[in-house]
Amino acid sequence: MQAYLVLVRRELGAYFVSITGYLLVSMVLFLVGLSFVDILGKLNVEPTDAPITEQFFVTVYFWMILLLTAPVMTMRTFAFERSAGTYEALMTSPVNDWQVVLAKFTGSQLVYLIAWLPLAFYLVVVSQFSNDASILNIRTLASTFGGLLLIGSVFISMGCLASALARSQVIAAVVTYGLGLGLFLLSLRSLMETPAEGWTGDLLQYVSMTEHMEAFARGAMDTRPMVLYASLTVFFLFLTTRIVEFRRWK
């Protein structure tokens, strides 16, 4: 446990000692800011009964943030350590492979959550200027951040896997982006005017991140997407651990 906590701390330090962490937070702040302006503009033109969180998640900015942050955050986890040579020092320390993988995942996940924190501030600001108290409640806020955490976990675990596989950080980032974009496009497929019939339609709807995120943003805490995202995260982390073990013992 000590090794895991030490490595998580080191991961956080690595993000915020270098410019990477600040760039990430700035990028997310900028895009969240743009979406905030966008939502305010729309609300001025056409009032709506939908929760403010749901308004945010139908903008393109949210998915841009999700698709861009995960590759940038996770590309350095393994690929950078290997190129810098510090991976050898790390893997010859008395730590388990799963501790290393889990610490790198947790570190990235925490940075991801830190980057999203300003969103809560924006939501509070909007609710302060609204007469309708139901526009934002704790349940909606919790389910929104729960959804963010779960979908982010999938993207980050995918990024860790790509970084463990790739020799170069750039390749790791491109692979993560490609995988994320693939999942996103699969989600869009279920929103098409003529959805697929039969089991393919059901499957597409079951894996549709856009629908799930909208539901989370409405305050609907459905266990099915929760199980899906938790399973996918565990699956990708398991694969990452196997890759790390394979690299050690090949």
Partner: protein, 315 residues
């Protein structure tokens, strides 16, 4: 401390280590000596648990590096080639981080970090960022990292590579001081380094152990002995006759060096000192002796000879 039996390591299409066996006793500094590409770094990577061998058994402190890798990693301090460090961290923070990672307690960490900072002469730079340090200081940080958890075995891969002569000297002195308290396996291709720091030597070439033992045993076993260079004015035939009768003389070469002098290179068996005998021989016969020099064979001579013989055998 280290037991390597029949170790082989093959990279795809390229054997890196071929059937290597050696043992390293506890205590002292052992040099793993060999030219570039001899398999030194690969052996150190296997010993440190970074990668497995393809065949064979490797034990460190009685633990198998493959099956009991975690136990082995608890007992070693490893400084890889090129000394990779987190350049964004401060020296003291880095050592504290490494000590924590190695499972040390808070109080122990404070004491050990202070001790290794002192031992490695890093006190004045402990708050500096590692990326801003000179190469010599970075090597010291790498050594301090290897030392911080009081390991039973320290593995150092080319610790003085890329340093200037002053830095090399200070890092060597530091390594030399470790020999009293730790078992150190030092991989290098620099002969003078081994000559100065190591008590035992293992010579590797093309993934095979060509010789191993103490420095003196190695020189003796390789026919090291001594050479005596003599220049004297004497009739060649008479000199040849007398030299052939001298006990302890293994081999000699004679050639004229001008002005009526003969130059002799005498190969002496270990345990004999023929300088008084040669002096008496010249004095009794009235031969003018203008040079009598004993040249000790160095490890470099032995190394070059072993590598050359091995290469000739291969070809």
């Amino acid at each position: 401390m280290i037991e390597v039996i029949g170790l082989r390591k093959e990279y795809p299409g390229c054997p890196a280590v071929g059937d290597v066996s050696f043992t390293v006793p506890a205590g002292g500094i052992v040099g793993l000596l060999g030219p570039n590409g001899a398999g030194k770094s690969t052996i150190l990577k296997i010993l440190s648990g970074y990668m497995p061998g393809t065949h064979g058994t490797v034990r460190v402190a009685g633990f198998d590096v493959f099956h009991q890798s975690a136990e082995v990693r608890k007992r070693i301090g490893y400084m890889p080639e090129n000394n990779p460090l987190h350049l964004d961290m401060r020296v003291k923070d880095y050592l504290t981080f490494r000590a924590r990672l190695k499972g040390m307690g808070a109080r122990e960490i404070r004491d050990r970090v202070a001790a290794v900072l002192d031992q490695c002469d890093l006190i004045g730079v402990d708050r500096r960022v590692i990326g801003q340090l000179s190469k010599g200081y970075r090597q010291r940080v790498g050594l301090a990292d290897a030392l911080v958890a009081k390991p039973e075995l320290i593995l150092l891969d080319e610790p003085t590579i890329g340093l200037d002569p002053n830095q090399i000297r200070s890092v060597r002195e530091l390594i030399l001081s470790l020999g009293c308290n730790y078992t150190v396996l030092l991989s290098t291709h620099i002969l003078s380094e081994v000559e100065i720091t190591c008590s035992h030597v293992i010579i590797l070439n093309q993934g095979k152990v060509l010789a191993s033992g103490t420095k003196q045993n190695l020189l003796d076993g390789l026919g090291g002995g001594k050479e005596i260079h003599v220049e004297l004015a004497a009739p060649e035939s008479a000199l040849r006759e007398i030299l052939a009768t001298i006990e302890g003389l293994e081999h000699f070469d004679l050639k004229p060096v001008g002005e009526g002098y003969l130059g002799c290179v005498l190969k002496v068996r270990p345990g004999f000192d023929l300088r008084p005998v040669l002096f008496e021989m010249a004095r009794e016969r009235g031969w003018v002796l203008r040079e009598l020099t004993q040249v000790r064979q160095t490890l470099e001579d032995a190394f070059v000879r072993v590598i050359r013989d091995h290469s000739q055998d291969q070809s």
